[in-house]
């Protein structure tokens, strides 16, 4: 593929990934502020005792 095509694809992929990740982070902050604390702690992952 031509370098120009490759760079365009790379830019689009990066933009999509950054947007999705930013949306995920925003959702995480919103959900953390609204979630059940008991549910949040109950679903924590720990190594077995």
């Amino acid at each position: 593929m031509k370098e120009r095509t490759f760079l365009t694809l790379l830019f689009i992929l990066l933009a999509v990934c950054v947007l999705v990740t930013a949306a995920h982070l925003i959702w995480a902050v919103w959900a953390y502020n609204h979630c059940s604390i008991i549910y949040f702690i109950a679903h924590e992952m720990w190594q077995g005792r």
Partner: protein
């Protein structure tokens, strides 16, 4: 040559995708997957399903006593409201003392607009605004008696600003408890260790005999009953800002005992002992548990509804205190 370049280009694109996908997947596994949908059945435990505690309904999960006090429909019925953890106390009072038809529940669908699912009719003797809005309602006059833990500084200031004097009548005892995931090896902390955790000087579970894992000290909404109790528990120390990475650590949270063990009930969390004392009925009664809290019936000093003192006298009588005990709390009288 061309093929090698194409493979390199595709590999680069795939690498970018994999890095982002791995990051998002890890964050989902460690964090966002646990937050779930706030209004899903599993996480409504934060807000309780008030429909389970409706007075005069045969299937309600309420304690009942044969009451010598019976209000009539024509009486000036005090409107009761309160914290989520105390819904089953004031609903049981209405069930035992108020006439049928005094509560109108219009259904509680949880949504952003109806955060607590508190669809009671405006003229219903039972309301459910929970602590933050309940304090405002008692000051503003929409509620006659509010069942809650002690107020926050802001709530005291709000009443003062409005020129309203509130009366706080202790009617029962409860334990302020700390809880962790059941797989966290720590079972007990001292009061000082908890203050150090929330104060920011202890940041890893290994510092209190646990695993080498960062501590996530979870707090509640400002003004909520448990957050106000936590502010009192800290005895003047500030709650520190935690590291953002703490979100991925092992959490500790706080609440009230019966809310945790009776109303919500979740076998994946466990209560911690404080100073080696586990919060149970016995240790609350004899006050050996270090964080015993009172809860109150709160009313405006200038409220001239004659049935408020009648109802509160009854609540402190043997019948009323039996109802408190039957509701899972510890009588004060």
């Amino acid at each position: 040559m061309k093929n090698r370049l194409l493979v390199k280009q595709i590999s680069a694109l795939a690498a970018v995708f994999i890095v982002f996908a791995a990051f998002n997947l890890a964050m989902y596994m460690l964090l966002t997957g646990r937050l779930a949908n706030n209004f899903s059945g599993a996480s409504q435990s934060k807000m309780i399903d008030v429909a389970r505690y409706l007075p005069h309904e045969p299937g309600s999960e309420l304690a009942r006593v044969e009451s010598s006090l019976k209000f009539k429909a024509e009486d000036d019925l005090p409107v009761l409201d309160g914290a989520a953890a105390l819904v089953l106390v004031y609903a049981a009072i209405i069930d035992s003392v108020y006439p049928e038809g005094s509560v109108t529940y219009e259904g509680g669908v949880f949504s952003d607009d109806n955060y607590y699912g508190e669809n009671f009719a405006p003229d219903s003797a039972m309301q459910y605004k929970n602590t933050v809005r309940g304090y405002r309602a008692i000051v503003d006059g929409g509620t006659d008696i509010l069942f809650c833990a002690g107020p926050s500084d802001e709530q005291v200031a709000y009443a003062e600003e409005k020129g309203v004097e509130l009366v706080y009548l202790p009617v029962g005892l409860e334990a302020f408890v700390f809880f962790v995931n059941k797989n966290n090896p720590v079972d007990s902390l001292t009061v000082e260790q908890v203050r150090d955790i929330y104060g920011g000087s202890i940041t890893n579970w290994s510092q209190v005999g646990g695993a080498n894992r960062i501590i996530n000290p979870v707090t509640r909404l400002p003004g909520s009953g448990s957050q106000s109790a936590m502010d009192v528990f800290m005895a003047g120390r500030d709650i520190a800002r935690k590291s953002p990475f703490a979100l991925f650590g092992g959490s500790i949270g706080f609440s009230f005992r019966y809310y945790m063990t009776g109303m919500v009930g979740n076998e994946a969390v466990k209560l911690l002992s404080l100073n080696g004392v586990y919060p149970d009925e016995e240790s609350i009664k004899n006050r050996s548990y270090p964080a015993v809290a009172q809860f109150y019936a709160i009313y405006r000093a200038d409220n001239d509804n004659p049935n408020i003192p009648v109802l509160l006298d009854w609540l402190l009588s043997e019948e009323g205190q039996t109802l408190i005990a039957g509701s899972g709390y510890i009588p004060i009288a």
